[in-house]
Symmetry: C2
Subunit: 240 residues, 2 copies
């Protein structure tokens, strides 16, 4: 399967019978959520990368929103929205459960995932040239991360989901991976170790996780892509 | 249990041992989602109504966000966010399942629930005096409801969830119940029957459902409450 991001004028690669397929974009944190779950559960699948600024006609026919991640099942039906796709995979491929069995603990994990939604919009400031916007956003991120630090400390586990990463860990990881992008704005924008010791240890551990390594990109690679984005001529294949 | 909405200075009614409790507000559509699920599953519980503009101190201690619905479990732990609370109830009290067992069908239902999120903000226009805002919002609602009409037609079932209402039905119902509020803005704002025949039949059926009847309020009652809200002196107990 080509890693190149397919654009208008391309043909949809034929889906091998019995295969699960993820339509993705290499640098998309939402699509990465699903890549992490597929990897953690070792679910066989192929990946088709989509050029999101010049979408193929056949892709738009598969999905009304034209967004990734889009999961295509063996019979051609599709599921979208990262959290819904990931929950589907967790329920369908239940051998490696990523949520606690106990409904109360599962609800608590889902609340935690919801809390993280306050962080994701703050990453938009990476596209800003206004230093005050960047400063306020980074401060806002650290403030919210304090709650995650407290939660991890309270849980007394290596990962949010226990001794192994689970749905909380994989759902928030894509943004944790991109936190280091702020240092390209200014060297002062690094997570304060004295304030977030458990979370920084968690980041180290996550980087060593097999599922994370499959989709992990270094800060330099994320930054190179961001640069093409900011230049007005986004290049999804800069590193392919 | 008093139906009056408790405000600052009140005491928290003691929780009877072994009881499940919902902190609610009589006119809140999000809290109604949970009331519907509790009623449909016949889960014993008590309800404590909260004055949301003058919240009791003890309520804020239970929940960081200070929002309803808040579900308090038998041991005093709490769950919030309507969709998460409802999923918890569905998993914990699984005798009357509100989601399809099949993970794919469940994912489709969750996508449908997500689609409805585009409608809820348009209800804010009920607080507007600007006729163009109201018109645009009502048109927007009807446009989105077309998708729900199509879906219901495609499913060929009485309710979105089949022969009985399920999670999709109960999750979107609170706004369906409030749709008639638009007619107080102008008599022209009624759902077009020729355009939404299945959905209008669904609304009729839902009104006759036992669980719905437990929390149902007539358009006149919703409007009377809205009037107190618009007057700047909200009265949660106008009808208690």
């Amino acid at each position: 399967m080509s890693l190149k991001h397919l654009a208008s004028g391309s043909s949809c690669p034929p889906l091998a019978k019995g295969n699960l397929r993820l339509y993705s974009m290499k640098y998309c944190p939402y699509a990465q959520r699903t890549r992490l779950v597929l990897a953690a559960k070792k679910i066989p699948h192929d990946i088709v990368n989509i050029n999101l600024v010049d979408k193929p006609h056949w892709f738009m026919e598969k999905t009304p929103l034209g967004k990734v991640p889009l999961l295509e099942l063996q019979d051609g039906s599709v599921i979208y929205e990262s959290l819904i796709v990931d929950d589907y995979l967790d329920e369908k491929y239940s051998e490696v459960p990523l949520y606690p069995k106990d409904p109360y603990k599962k609800a608590k994990d889902r609340i935690l995932i919801g809390d993280f939604d306050k962080i994701t919009p703050l990453f938009i400031s990476l596209k800003s040239q206004d230093i005050l916007t960047v400063q306020a956003s980074f401060d806002g991120i650290v403030k919210i991360l304090n709650n995650f630090e407290e939660e991890l400390k309270k849980r007394e586990t290596k990962y949010f989901s226990g001794s192994q990463p689970g749905m909380v860990d994989f759902t928030i990881w894509p943004w944790a991976e991109r936190l280091e992008l702020f240092k390209y704005k200014d060297a002062q924008y690094v997570l304060p170790e004295e304030q977030l010791p458990h979370l920084l240890l968690w980041i180290q551990r996550m980087k060593e996780n097999d599922a994370v390594r499959e989709s992990y990109l270094s800060p330099d690679k994320h930054f190179a892509f961001l640069q093409t984005f900011l230049s007005g001529s986004v290049n999804y294949d800069i590193d392919n």
